[in-house]
Amino acid sequence: MIGSILWLGIIGLALGWEIICRLSHNRFLSIGRLGSFIAIRIPGRIALFAIWIFIGIHVFSRYTIPTTWP
């Protein structure tokens, strides 16, 4: 329960900070700009692509519905 609240807090914090960044007209670094910074070099682009693939496979091919847990 505590962990779930903390996760929601972290997700809320990330979303809130992203909104602040977007409203600040580039004064603060948004997640999109951070991604662009990582993507400047080819290894960075490959790493971002690999993370995207991992999320896709992990979330959509290897998920477990909580009600079917043993």
């Binding site: 779930s4 996760w7 670094l29 910074f37 692509f49 091919s61 998920y63």
Partner: protein
Amino acid sequence: MIGLISKYRHVWTTVIVSIGVSFYAWISTGLKPFSPASYISVVIPVIILATIFVTSAALSPSQIKARDYYRQQAGDFSTKTVLPWVIIFLCGIGLEAIGLVLGGRSVVVPTLSTMIDYLLITHIGRFILFLIWLEVGWMPVNKFINRNQRDQL
């Protein structure tokens, strides 16, 4: 009629592609997890995106267009402005590590995957998340391609 179709060609293409992608996402998220079909359904968009990514020269080391584009998109920033994201990521990694140490499906501290599993219970939840995942992968590549096309005109 033909004039009307060609006038709104871009709109028609977007509508048809959106319907096609939504249909694919709906079918894909209805497949049984851990089945070969579910893996293939995720790999297909990965292959399509990788092909577009490579053919748009974003991975070619000989050109500097992609590097310049992403540098321009990132803009100037100090290391101080990265700090909030570093703190958020570290908090996430820390909580994930605690969740994994507790067995991964702990009720006290679940992992992020376990949290997301609750959003995957319904087909519509999986469908929406799948569309978001596709959009997150497609958006930066699409922006880069659009910029390339505009520069060539």
